[in-house]
Symmetry: C2
Subunit: 333 residues, 2 copies
Amino acid sequence: MSTAKTINLKNRPKGKPGLSDFNFTTSEVSELKDGEVLLQLTYVSVDPYLRGRMMDAESYIEPFELNKPIVSGCVAEVLESKASDLSSGDFVTGMLQWKEQQVANADNLKKVNPDQAPLSAYLGILGMTGLTAYFGLTDIGKPEAGETLLVSGAAGAVGTVVGQIGKILGMRVVGIAGSDEKIEMITSDFGYDEGINYKTTENMKQAIAKACPDGVDVYYDNVGGEISEAVLYNINKFSRTVVCGAISVYNKIELPKSTSVQPFLIKKSSSMQGFVIFDYKDRHPEGIRQLADWLQNGKLHYEETIQEGFDNIPQAFLDLFEGKNKGKMLVKV
Amino acid sequence: MSTAKTINLKNRPKGKPGLSDFNFTTSEVSELKDGEVLLQLTYVSVDPYLRGRMMDAESYIEPFELNKPIVSGCVAEVLESKASDLSSGDFVTGMLQWKEQQVANADNLKKVNPDQAPLSAYLGILGMTGLTAYFGLTDIGKPEAGETLLVSGAAGAVGTVVGQIGKILGMRVVGIAGSDEKIEMITSDFGYDEGINYKTTENMKQAIAKACPDGVDVYYDNVGGEISEAVLYNINKFSRTVVCGAISVYNKIELPKSTSVQPFLIKKSSSMQGFVIFDYKDRHPEGIRQLADWLQNGKLHYEETIQEGFDNIPQAFLDLFEGKNKGKMLVKV
């Protein structure tokens, strides 16, 4: 029986995670059964939401088990197959373990075409990232041409796609990000009409009011925390907040307090709705079709930050919280 | 030109309002013009949301002007009419000034039938209160038979109606209120399956979990604050929070901080939506029809607390924040 290098969750991080929260082991690769395939990891996606899954039961996302491999979206190559619809040499995506080689049930995998788009795109613009942007904005945000869309975490993987879809749909699009370089990127490369660098802005409430003179109709929230508090003062009547992420609170030991949202929601007859992309499982093909169409017509661009080497997966994950990524953060194994 | 006793907002209350925030004046009753009627107040509705309107511009509800009469929902009798569709002796409802006699435009009034229901009902179960319960629960809460409905402020004007509609629709209904007497009332008189006295409960998070063993599908929130924080830990996947009121924060000088809702909304793909009853203006007739139907079939009961005398309006308003009302609080002029 063969073995493979594996990255496990060693400790539940207190506050900001560190390398010592992970450990490397060598674990068995089980025997192939009918319906299963042996996979070699190709690309591993590291995402802020994984931080939530590292917390324990009182947390707000189903936790990873300690001393078990971490799981995230991956692209892998099929090395051996006992599944009828997959053959050696095929590439697939799925939620896979951080384990160089592993056996997986073919039912939980989706075959992807490396000729249609680069393999990494299936973890980004044509994967969870793109679908999260697409369904969050279109289904929850209910955007209308001429409305104002504000996006936090605008230079991140999801944010860069949200802004572009907003422009395709005819909205005024304003982004919030954490460096002048990122603001330059979202306005130059991703079509944002305007950007706000929250790290150099003293009064976010006023800055948002200035950048959104007609108020905010749709707020696509990737960060939560203080930025989202400032947004509350600028939402329009019947506005919609798409609650996609809360990276600003993922590293907090206790959930932080923030200004109560309820009085704002009442005053503005406004809604906030959370979601995870799995809610739209049945509609993924529709989303991929639309995104691929925009991509092929040159209406969508994407950026990715690719680090190399299986051993660097934990560091790549940690780098997310330092804002070191532009667009989707991936590790090429 | 005649004059009438008027109650004005004297100060913007800091914290809890007091009698000194109001003053009584005698002000002119203007001449009747075409399309107008001269009214005599019959019943005045005092409501928690008025507290929000007493705050100034940075507040979250359009403010009342200082030294101008306060306005709330009222029933009044037509004394004289220059409007084609109203005659002396008719009764109307509308947003009227706290002024014993006043002139109003007939377009902003709705004639009510004193033979169909007691006049006070048009400020309660067949008025804003009933409609707020009805549209909030049915349109935003999207209730399904068999689901669990949790109501805060359950013994209040809106809460007693919400609970009964929940039962009519086949839900398990749990209420939160502030005294054993109120809990007894909601379970005995208003059909609630269970009640939680938040004043005598140490751990609200656990108490809610116990009273709602299948979790909370719809939370009809009349209070905000700490109670609503405890509810967050008990919401189900795809649950809906109807943000109707936030009485617990209306008297705060600064908006309070509370646990960030975003992580919970993400984890549970859950929504929170605020509203005011004016959003449903076009659908009021539908709501009144349904409520009147339930009322006539004995499926809806209502309770009201009626104080007497124009001069007692401010005190009746203050009594709301002491929880002295059961059901709708009114003043008979």
